[in-house]
């Protein structure tokens, strides 16, 4: 006769409902931290803004055109997303492994894809708050004049850029499952080189066509170029490709990264389980 202890409690939620609840549960800590811990204002807005100001003053010291200062502010705001993708997506599963959460995620009757999506959504909302603050304060401080060519197109570029960036982050997260502390160094290495090749602080057109085209694999490149073209009077003449082409390319990148993330996650999760790397600490 079956005892109470042997009886398996059925899952209260399954299918898409479980998926959605997992997404919300993983996004929650990333959202609530903004309320519980106020120092993020200093560390995520004030100090990055100070760093962006240094680049603005480099232009000012060399009497650069005013729009380039706006380019720096946009670059500084968008770079917040790249940092979030690197540290809070790419490297996140490594930290989860270090703190013992990763094994729990794998054991839980939910999808890892939902966990990554929750991380991405939470990170997106939080980073948008930070990026918007940098944009508004930076623009006011340096009297940046925007000339918006098309609001719907600008919104489309922004949304597609976030999908592509966080899709890439989800892909990184899967790949980094197999890495130890070298993952930290690789993430560190993906900062300045990407800021350089994506033209975070200058128009990407400063490079030749093929370098810029190669750099476009990082969604930040096309996103910055398109946003600048749509936001400044000189944006189009300093632009790399036609904005509509960039929108299509961003959409393609978004789809490609999400599909790759799903595939990689499945493969690497299996490999990590087989090699027993989910609970090891290689700090």
């Amino acid at each position: 006769m079956e005892s109470n202890r042997d009886r398996v409690t059925p899952l209260r939620h399954s299918g898409w409902r479980l998926f959605a609840r997992t997404v919300m549960a993983r996004a929650y800590p990333r959202l609530i931290m903004n309320v519980r811990e106020k120092w993020w204002v200093v560390f995520d807005i004030v100090l990055p803004l100070v760093g962006v100001c240094a680049y603005v003053f480099v232009y000012r010291a060399n009497h650069a055109p005013a729009d380039l200062i706006g380019f720096v502010i946009i670059g500084g705001a968008m770079s917040a997303y790249w940092m979030n993708v690197l540290w809070a997506m790419g490297n996140q599963l490594f930290w989860e492994k270090e703190t013992g959460n990763l094994a729990l995620y794998i054991m839980a009757p939910s999808s890892m894809m939902a966990i990554l999506l929750g991380m991405a959504l939470g990170g997106m909302v939080t980073t948008t708050l930070r990026a918007a603050s940098i944009l508004v304060i930076g623009s006011l401080l340096f009297d940046v004049r925007f000339t918006i060519a098309s609001v719907p197109l600008l919104a489309a570029v922004f949304v597609l850029a976030l999908v592509a960036l966080y899709g890439m982050g989800m892909m990184f997260a899967s790949m980094f499952l197999l890495l130890g502390r070298e993952g930290w160094h690789l993430v560190n290495l993906a900062q300045e080189p990407v800021f350089l090749i994506s033209g975070t602080f200058f128009p990407i057109r400063s490079f030749n066509f093929w370098v810029a085209a190669g750099a476009s694999i990082v969604p930040l490149t096309l996103a910055l170029d398109a946003i600048r073209q749509l936001s400044f009077s000189t944006g189009a003449e300093l632009g790399f490709l036609d904005v509509r082409t960039e929108v299509m390319a961003l959409a393609g990148l978004g789809v490609a990264f999400l599909v790759a993330a799903r595939h990689l996650l499945h493969q690497l999760e299996r490999l990590a389980v087989a090699e027993g790397r989910l609970t090891e600490s290689r700090a």
Partner: protein
């Protein structure tokens, strides 16, 4: 005391470099600083039509190259506390062992200094070879340069110790403190542009920062002409800058010692030495 310093330097070097093969580590040491400098080079080249032979370029390039030490040494020492306490969980063992903790932290800073020296040397060599950077070994005033470098490293060690002490007693954002302060100083100390470009009400912050004088002394010893090109510190002779820097280093050393004593006592009282926040 010296054993603590020596051992910590060796340990720091291992932590910094043994995560990859020597070849990959060398590549890492080259790519990061060069791309960081390249961002400024492209910005400068775009607005000046590639006038890399100018004094303005030397000012910016050398300032940026040597500023790497500020981030590496200061942030490295603060990060050492976070790593040892939170990741490796060895800080309590350090405290139990007969280790001089301040010297241990300075040793970790020395390790970062050594790895960064490779990056700085490569960046300067790249500038000379490909970007008309006006640094000629025969014209460098080596005595002034070495004195400036030594004083600067001592100064950064004191600033790093102050930050590391503060990290001992804070839980949140502790891993960001070093890099955040280094990023802020980048703006205020005129590393890549003269202080005159800053609004008048911000400039005093730059004049209070010893890193401002250190970078000026390094620039002058490498390219003499920058001293007369910008009015920021033109009124100061090299000797005056050395004396000023030495005095500020002593002052910051006193601040670091006092901060460490205070924070160390607080951390012991509150049981923070073996705290794991998972933040």
């Amino acid at each position: 005391m010296w054993t603590s310093l020596r051992t910590a330097t060796w340990l720091g070097w291992q932590i910094e470099s043994n995560w990859a093969s020597p070849a990959l580590f060398a590549l890492y040491s080259i790519i990061k600083p060069l791309t960081s400098a390249a961002i400024l080079v492209v910005m400068f080249g775009m607005v000046t039509q590639g006038n890399f032979g100018s004094t303005a370029f030397s000012y910016m390039y050398i300032g940026n190259a040597f500023y790497m030490y500020v981030g590496a040494v200061m942030a490295g020492m603060a990060q050492a506390v976070v790593d040892d306490r939170e990741r490796f969980r060895t800080l309590k063992s350090m405290y139990v062992a007969p280790v001089n903790i301040p010297m241990y932290l300075v040793g970790r800073g020395v390790a970062r200094f050594l790895t960064t020296t490779l990056s700085v040397a490569i960046t300067i060599a790249f500038g000379v070879a490909f970007l008309q950077l006006q640094v000629s070994p025969s014209e460098v005033r080596w005595g002034t340069f070495l004195m400036a470098l030594s004083l600067g490293i001592a100064l950064l060690a004191t600033m790093g110790l102050t930050l590391a002490s503060i990290v001992l007693v804070i839980a949140h954002n502790s891993w960001l403190v070093g890099e955040a302060v280094a990023a802020a100083l980048f703006l205020f100390c005129g590393a890549v542009f003269p202080l005159e470009v800053l609004p008048w009400w911000v400039r005093p912050v730059g004049y209070l920062m010893p890193v401002t004088y250190w970078l000026e002394l390094v620039r002058r010893s490498l390219v003499g002409r920058v001293a007369t090109e910008y009015p920021t510190l033109a009124a100061f002779s090299d000797l005056q800058l050395v004396v000023l820097l030495a005095m500020l280093t002593v002052a910051f050393g006193a601040i670091a010692a006092a901060t460490f004593c205070r924070c160390d006592r607080l951390a012991r009282e509150r049981g923070l030495i073996d705290r794991t926040t998972n933040y």
